[in-house]
């Protein structure tokens, strides 16, 4: 009996450590998601500095007003640059999901508000599947995204596409969560 | 002298620390604890299971009829023994199966045995003056007793005979059985009356072992060559001739090496023999 109790204790301890280990993993995945956000925030912080550098001169009030107009346009552009959010796809699929379509509608609004901004859509895949096939699949995803944007009224001349296949994953982990994050289209806005 | 011994003892004792004896006792007890602990359930002992013994024959390849070619199973001398012994047990069986038959066969036997009984009976005839009815009853009883005795004797004899036969059968069955069940010994074509290994199989195995060829040497496996090998009665290669070449230089040269390595079979043959050997790769065809 004593032996039994002892083994039971050991097994329970083992299961407990497993549980603890299993719980500990999830936050790690979330952490990587957080670290990605600042990249976009940096873009936001850098841009206002450009506006503040405008010389304040009484004689050039007219110019200042013109500058303000430019600044407004730039602000819209900034908003577009920072506000375009990536969309996600299902495995081996380039059909847009409903969530992706909603996001694309928002993206289209931002782009229409900032007519100076051109956008390059990057198609990405998860690491499963062959490299070449994924390059083609990434392109299909970028194409599906761009044609949807165009259908929402963004002029076709402003949208270009490129596929990176599985070459630039957001999360290099080999988990379903990481793969889901990597199957995406990104919006690379340029003035 | 005594005083010096005492001194020594005292010296020795002074070397030990005061608590030494107690510590020694504690140490002893602690050590004693170890074997005690060893027998508690905290130290589970594995049941010593004897590992199974596998008999493996590394010399001969497995064949169909294991008994064939075994000297103790086969020799011609023993064959007549089998034939003589085997018929005997057969009649035993019917005797064993119908026990009712026994009395039938036994009854005639006591009859001649009963013949002496009248003689013995006739002797007392005149002496006792007993009534005829009594005499008759007595005779009947005696006869019955004798018959019973005879029966017993006959049965004992039969039992003895049976035991002998059974022993014979047991001996024979032991002879036929090889020491290891299903021992892969002998040759496929063996009839059970040969001694040693079949000559043809020996030569085949010998040359096969000399032949070394890698699957990675050939682009195709559809190759065949026929070679005539003439061996003397001493087992020496007298001459060889390619009857048919495969046309593949690598394959043919591997055969040449095998032949050159088989110049001496290392064992005499019954007579000078022509071996027509067909070399091919049929057993390697299924591999990629």
């Amino acid at each position: 009996m004593q032996k039994l109790n002892l083994t039971r204790l050991v097994v329970m301890l083992f299961v407990l450590t497993l549980l603890v280990a299993g719980c500990a993993k999830k936050p790690v995945v979330e952490e990587t998601a957080v670290t990605e956000q600042p990249i976009q925030e940096q873009v936001l912080q850098q841009q206002p500095a450009v506006i503040e550098e405008q010389p304040v001169d009484e004689a050039a009030a007219e110019a200042a007003r013109a500058a303000a107009r430019i600044a407004a346009a730039e602000a819209a552009a900034d908003k577009a640059l920072s506000g375009l959010m990536r969309i996600y796809f299902d495995f081996d699929q380039y059909v847009l999901t409903d969530a992706a379509k909603q996001q694309l509608a928002m993206n289209a609004g931002l782009l229409k508000a900032a007519p100076t901004v051109n956008v390059q859509i990057e198609g990405h895949c998860d690491e499963r599947g062959s490299d070449e096939y994924n390059l083609a699949l990434g392109e299909k995803r970028a194409l599906a995204t761009s044609s949807y944007l165009v259908s929402l009224g963004v002029s076709a001349g402003r949208v270009s596409i490129i596929s990176y296949g599985e070459e630039i994953p957001l999360d290099p982990a080999k988990t379903e969560a990481a793969w889901a994050k990597n199957r995406r289209a990104e919006f690379n806005a340029r003035r | 002298m005594d005083s010096s011994r005492k001194q020594r003892r005292q010296q020795l004792q002074s070397v030990f620390e005061p608590g030494f004896r107690r510590m020694l006792l504690v140490s002893f007890l602690l050590h004693l604890l170890l074997p005690v602990l060893y027998h508690t359930p905290w130290f589970p002992k594995k049941d010593s299971v004897k590992p199974p013994v596998y008999r493996v024959n590394l010399v001969n390849k497995p064949v169909k009829s294991p008994q064939a070619g075994r000297p103790e199973a086969a020799p011609v001398k023993k064959k007549p023994v089998k034939k003589v012994v085997k018929p005997k047990p057969k009649p035993v069986k019917p005797k064993l199966i119908p026990p009712k038959l026994k009395p039938v066969t036994v009854k005639p036997k006591p009859k001649p045995a009963s013949k002496p009984t009248p003689r013995t009976v006739s002797k007392p005839e005149p002496t006792p003056a007993v009534s005829k009815a009594q005499e008759n009853a007595l005779q009947k009883r005696l006869e019955e007793l004798r018959m019973a005795q005879a029966k017993k004797r006959a049965e004992q004899e039969r039992k003895k005979q049976l035991d002998v036969l059974r022993a014979a059968v047991a001996v024979e069955s032991r002879q036929v059985k090889s020491p290891v069940a299903d021992a892969p010994v002998g040759s496929v074509t063996g009839k059970g009356d040969e001694i040693g290994v079949d000559e043809r199989d020996y030569v085949r195995e010998f040359i096969t072992r000399q032949w070394r060829l890698s699957q990675y040497q050939l682009a195709t496996r559809q190759l065949e060559a026929v070679v005539l090998l003439v061996y003397s009665a001493e087992g020496k290669l007298l001459h060889y001739r390619f009857k048919e070449k495969s046309g593949n230089e690598i394959f043919d040269s591997s055969l040449l090496r095998a032949i050159l390595k088989s110049k001496d079979l290392g064992q005499p043959l019954q007579e000078q023999t022509d071996f027509t050997v067909i070399f091919n790769l049929k057993d390697m065809l299924d591999r990629p």
């Binding site: 699949l137 | 040497q217 000078q272 022509d274």
Partner: protein, 432 residues
Amino acid sequence: MKIVRAILAAAVLYFFYAGSAAAVRIEISAPGEQTIPLAITSLLPMGAVQAGVAEEFQQVLGNDLDLSGLFDLVDPEAFLGDAQKLTLHSTQVDFGQWRMLGAEVLIKGGYRFEAGKLTVELRLYDVISRRLLTGRRYIGTPADVRRIAHTFADQILLSLTGESGPFNSRIAYISKRTGRKELYLMDVDGHQRLRLTDHRSIVLNPDFSPTRKELIFTSYDKGNPDLYRKEIYTGRESRLSLKPGLNIGGRYSPDGREVALTLSKDKNSEIYLLGTDGTIHRRLTNHYGIDVDPSWSPDGHKIAFVSDRRGNPNIFIVDIHTLEVNRLTYEGKYNATPAWSPKKDRIVFARLEGSEFNLFSIRSDGSDERQLTFGPGSKEHPRWSPDGRFLIYSLDRGGEKSIWIMRADGTGARKISTKGGHDTHPAWSARW
């Protein structure tokens, strides 16, 4: 008289064969052993002793011959006196000694350093028939020891199989050693690594020209995945195909005159044939699905490729003359990266099961499918050696990507890339 003589001779012959009374027929349908016992003696100095030469030579040659799977090496511990003698002529070799050790073939050799030049004499003997199978003298610089060993290994295979080995060739591959994917070159045993590109972008999927010391690959150097051509010795680099969209998966035809590749200039990936000047010769596929990963048949008349035209990615074969397309694979849900053997009627491909690829091989008529790799890790990007004996592939296991080499039947797998390289996409050159 002549007739009488002929009859007599026939009679003698008849009696000779009939006279040897017993006649037995034997069929032997497989050799006793499927390896050849080989003794490799170490190189002996023909002049001054140079440390390390014999050891390095032995190591390289032994490794190559072991990979070939042909041999069963005789233990050098057992060698007798003849191993210490420089016998470069078959009459000098004590073959009896070697036969006693069970060797059937024997390698002997010596080296000499003179005026900065390294001379290596090498002999391959048949121990049983006591003759020289092949003899070679190599003259090079002291740095050429490895090269000489590889070349002699090829020579041994030529002598014992009728087909030269692939050991004196190169392997191009993609490595992330610098943090970016760049193109590298190495020997078949993973030594002598050399970086070829400095694009600091993404370089993908190289292929060797079968006739020239030249590579093609895809790079994002100019922003778009374009197909590049690079001359290995001059380092000259140019863009061979720069159509908008994908210019990927370039593969030289067996005669080196055309390149099959995937273009998506019309918003859909299709297989095209390109001239070596970059002009489009022909479009081979026309389907709204994905068509990628071309691989030439050895005769140059057909191309295997991957398509999802029937749903999941599977392998199809297109005849480049009639453009007739036939499906090759039906098993599995995801079959990709076909590689057609340059010698045999076999196509190796990777099949995705779960989240890991394993390599399979199949005949071009879709029969006789066999699994080549097993075990953990994803095996991808199979490519053949120029002689069709070996396969090279990349393995992704535990986050580390490495390059492996194995025999075409899946045996003898070994890693040839070093740790931490993140090496993928190997391609095997023709004989160098």
